[in-house]
């Protein structure tokens, strides 16, 4: 609750309780407000929630443990393809979500350990390059594993994935409450919101736990962390595995929501976009990751809606493709952030200096 309050600029400091409630009410009402501007905005909100899950998971690896991971989207891919393999006509398997989602998370965690093991001794730039390579390897595998035996269906991707069905209640359909119809997009929104809320609570507890403190120490000084008795190897593997788990869950949800997966969705640019969200929001800060994901998902879309008409009006034709504008916007966001708020929108340091954390050790 108090953590939520930090997302609200002015009110958060003065009336944290009120600010917390404000965030909750806004989160619950968001799709209704968005619907006013058109249903596509609800869809964008759904995606923003998925990106929040990704940003939360990556923040765990990069922000908490200090391991720069440029191939994070690979775990998203593992989760999404797990869903595609186990819940689609592709192999004719249709397992329920409560099996597929944990399996996807598990495979992603395994992939995290597979990535983590060889890079234990690498740091900084070297780690970034190897993880980047890992992300690309996963994507290239997905692209090419369609022959001699067709596993991934190659660049065409896999179609007609099962939607999320919660114990017989299919989220892809429209929910009828009497005369009132609730569109699938809203249902997904609340399911995703629940996942994000759960993740925030979990990660928050993790952060102030023994593990979280071990990560913070390791991030600041690895040798000193070893010198006070932290098993740095295990802590790194745990960070990779846990971070990947969030990617895996988000990937599964993405597959179910989108109904279609292809290697294209898991490019290097996606890894960088998620990393940008984390850095922009404030590395090592849970609320920062959430706010970063929201802003950097919504802003480019907003721009897309504005850019086309504006360009038409000015030049009578489209000069810059909206997709180009998205990258431009991400880059600009980073530049302005470095200039004005090097710690991110909501810097993490202030949080660490909070007295409530000090009591953590004795409990």
């Amino acid at each position: 609750m108090d953590a939520l309050a930090h997302a609200v600029p002015w009110l958060g400091k003065r009336h944290p309780r009120a600010a917390g409630w404000l965030v909750i009410v806004l989160a619950l009402a968001a799709p209704l407000i968005a619907a006013y501007f058109g249903r596509s905005w609800v869809r964008i909100l759904d995606f923003a929630l998925l990106y929040m899950l990704l940003a939360l998971g990556l923040n765990l690896v990069v922000g908490f443990a200090g391991l720069l991971d440029l191939g994070y989207i690979a775990f998203y891919a593992v989760g999404a393809y797990t869903w595609a393999f186990l819940a689609s006509p592709h192999f004719g398997v249709h397992l329920p979500f409560w099996l597929v989602l944990p399996l996807g998370a598990g495979f992603a965690a395994l992939a995290g350990i597979i990535l983590g093991t060889p890079v234990l001794r690498l740091r900084g730039d070297y780690l970034a390059i190897v993880t980047l390579g890992f992300g690309e390897i996963v994507r290239i595998f997905l692209n090419n594993l369609n022959h001699p035996v067709n596993i991934t269906n190659g660049p065409q991707g896999i179609n007609a994935l099962d939607s999320l069905s919660l114990f017989g209640w299919d989220l892809a359909g429209t929910l009828r409450l009497g005369d009132f119809k609730v569109h699938s997009l809203y249902l997904y929104y609340y399911v995703f919101l629940l996942c994000v809320a759960g993740s925030i609570v979990f990660i928050r507890r993790l952060q102030i736990s023994r593990i979280g403190r071990a990560w913070a120490a390791m991030r600041d000084d690895e040798l000193a962390a070893k010198a006070i008795g932290i098993n740095v190897r295990n802590m790194k593997l745990l960070a990779f595995a846990l971070g990947a788990t969030f990617g895996g869950v988000a990937g599964g949800l993405f597959g179910a929501f989108q109904g279609f997966v292809s290697p294209e969705s898991f490019s290097l640019m996606e890894s960088i976009a998620v990393l940008t969200m984390v850095v922009f929001g404030g590395m090592g800060n849970i609320v920062g990751a959430v706010v970063g994901a929201l802003i950097l998902t919504a802003l480019p879309e907003l721009l897309r809606y504005l850019a086309l008409p504006v360009q038409e009006a000015l030049f009578h034709r489209v000069v810059l493709d909206p997709e180009v504008l998205r990258m431009l916007l991400l880059s600009l966001a980073m530049i302005f952030m470095m200039l004005w708020r090097p710690g991110g929108l909501i810097p993490a340091r202030a949080r660490y200096a909070r007295p409530e954390l000090l009591g953590g050790e004795t409990r």
């Binding site: 023994r210 600041d220 070893k226 007295p355 050790e361 004795t362």
Partner: protein, 242 residues
């Protein structure tokens, strides 16, 4: 843990360490008896820090033996050695810069689970380092160099060590500050902690330590009491600038 009082607490026997193809330690042997303060001096690159890091378990041995309290610990990972009572204050202090001072101190007790005793030890560290106590809520990266060194020592003490390995506590600090730090180290030694100290400042180190070892390119070339080494003409010429 009672061991034979005549046997050394730490016995380093002919250890070798290599970085890639380069031999950093070419057979180093030294020993520390419980309650002693011993210093290791030598020029840059002689292998002093490597020796400390090898004892703390930060580096794999390419040969030789390290016996501590009667057990061979040469293959034990660093985090296990901390639990046995070996604490390292690394070169450059190794402060967790983004955590607060109190968080840093408490992290020192990471390997322990005796919560009450940790509180007692915290109080003792506060008494020992009053400057640190005034800054508990401050982010550690904003401390001065001397305060950071004090904090690093305090953090190491919170693991309740029997053997404290100190790597260049005087580095980059003003003489008055260095003196204060040495006073603290001496108090720690008086409380019964065995200390192995690596120093560039040979004069000071030899004055405080009961014994000393001199290292040169990966080997121990000389050893003796602090006083004897201070009087040794070759030591005076090489390390005391005379």
């Amino acid at each position: 843990m009672h061991t034979n009082p005549a046997a050394p607490l730490l016995q380093v026997d002919d250890i070798r360490v290599a970085y890639g193809g380069i031999q950093a330690l070419k057979g180093v042997s030294l020993e520390l008896y419980a309650g002693e303060m011993v210093c290791l001096i030598g020029a840059n690159g002689a292998g002093k820090t490597t020796t400390l890091n090898a004892i703390a378990g930060m580096l794999p041995l390419a040969g030789g033996r390290i016996a501590y309290a009667g057990d061979d610990i040469g293959a034990l990972p660093a985090h296990r050695r901390v639990r046995r009572g070996i604490a390292l204050v690394p070169e450059g202090r190794g402060i967790f810069t983004r955590l607060t001072v109190e968080e840093n101190l408490r992290m020192g007790a990471y390997a322990r689970d005796d919560a009450d005793a940790i509180e007692t030890d915290l109080d003792r560290v506060y008494t020992l380092l009053p400057r640190i106590r005034e800054r508990l809520a401050q982010v550690a990266g904003t401390l001065s160099g001397g305060e950071q060194q004090m904090l690093a020592i305090g953090r190491a003490l919170l693991s309740r060590p029997r053997l404290l390995l100190l790597d260049e506590p005087s580095m980059g600090l003003a003489p008055q500050v260095v003196e204060k730090i040495f006073e603290v180290v001496q108090t720690v030694r008086d409380d019964g902690v065995t200390v192995l100290l690596v120093e560039q400042n040979a004069h000071l180190a030899l004055a405080f330590a009961s014994r000393g070892y001199v290292m040169e390119s990966g080997r121990i070339t000389l050893s003796g009491s602090g006083r004897a080494l201070l009087a040794d003409p070759s030591v005076r010429a090489a390390y005391l600038g005379e």
